[in-house]
Symmetry: C2
Subunit: 205 residues, 2 copies
């Protein structure tokens, strides 16, 4: 009786809860790293108990994987959409990248997630090591292909696309680290613009 009028706890649907956990876990992994964030805190943040969380993700490692896939999917979509539209000049690509960099500063938790985890996962036995190795390879390939598509006139002959890609990714990561450590003292946008100008200057020489 009294079905729809019942004020009892409104049970969530599976889909909702899973995403909820994923989001809280993102924030906490980002803040404390994988090892530092405890299941207890994640559970608490979600309003569940530890076994409650483990009902959805059979282990902490599974949860981490869930978090990584969750955000990676979104990011890849954005990046590939960004890159594959039309063959652009290197400078255009960097401009787009700059936009992403700046936009990302609005969600420091997410940047932090990746910076903290990439640091931890330098160890080859870390649960997200393979993920990051794969990820960098994939992203590098994406860029290289893009660079190869824009031929001679726009691309200086003696520039190796792989090296350029590695360099761009390094700049992005390195800037984010410095910014996270000391937001007031580091002007990410300015530094990246300088970089863009250097690249553009060099490429069109």
């Amino acid at each position: 009786m009294a079905k729809s009028t019942s004020p009892a706890k409104p049970k969530r649907v599976r889909r909702d809860r899973k995403d909820e956990i994923l989001e809280k876990a993102t924030a906490l992994f980002g803040e404390y790293g994988f090892q530092g964030a405890t299941l207890a805190r994640i559970a608490e943040a979600t309003g569940l108990t530890e076994p409650g969380v483990l009902h959805y993700f059979p282990s902490k490692v599974h949860l981490l994987q869930g978090v990584l896939e969750y955000h990676d999917r979104k990011e890849v979509e954005r990046y590939s959409g960004m890159l594959q539209k039309e063959k652009k000049s290197v400078f255009e690509i960097l401009k787009l990248h700059e936009g992403v960099l700046i936009e990302e500063q609005k969600t420091p938790g997410l940047i932090q997630l990746f910076v903290v985890l990439v640091g931890e996962s330098v160890r080859s036995d870390h649960p997200s090591h393979d993920f990051f190795v794969e990820r960098y390879r994939r992203v590098r390939e994406m860029y290289v292909e893009q660079f190869l598509r824009m031929n001679q006139p726009r691309f200086r002959r003696d520039v190796n696309p792989e090296e350029l890609t590695t360099l761009i990714l390094a700049v992005v990561d390195g800037l984010q680290i410095q910014w996270l450590l000391d937001p007031q003292k580091v002007d990410v946008q300015a530094a990246f613009e300088l970089f863009s100008k250097m690249v553009a200057g060099y490429m069109s020489e």
Copy 2:
């Protein structure tokens, strides 16, 4: 009696032991991070028990601080010696930097120590947070001063030394991350050389 001929356990002197612990701790913090490396393992590696280690460093955090200071001291010496010799061109400085980068690849444990710890210490409550903030500020200042010392003809007017410094440090950190994750796929030297050429080209434009 029987002093020098005694085969009994040769008690170490304080100085020796401390450095010994510091070196083992460096390796283990580098491999597992601060949270991941346990006192037990550090003690074991040194041939002591846990309280044995704590006899020299009152807590794990103190030990971490010891490790950081220990290596920072060495590094600062090297860098400042490198920079302050004579007023060089930007390109020369980058060339020196490249040498350091390559040399450092022989001691991946040490690179890893800093990459892993800098990731962890992005959190403002991490025991080495302040250290890294300080460190980056210090290093940036050192570079900026150096850049300011070499005036007009060598230094392009519209380049902000702070931005350039931030960028250089970002490149170094970012390259190291990619290299640690996937040593075979990332050519640090090539990427850094490309960067140097871009900088040199831009500065002398």
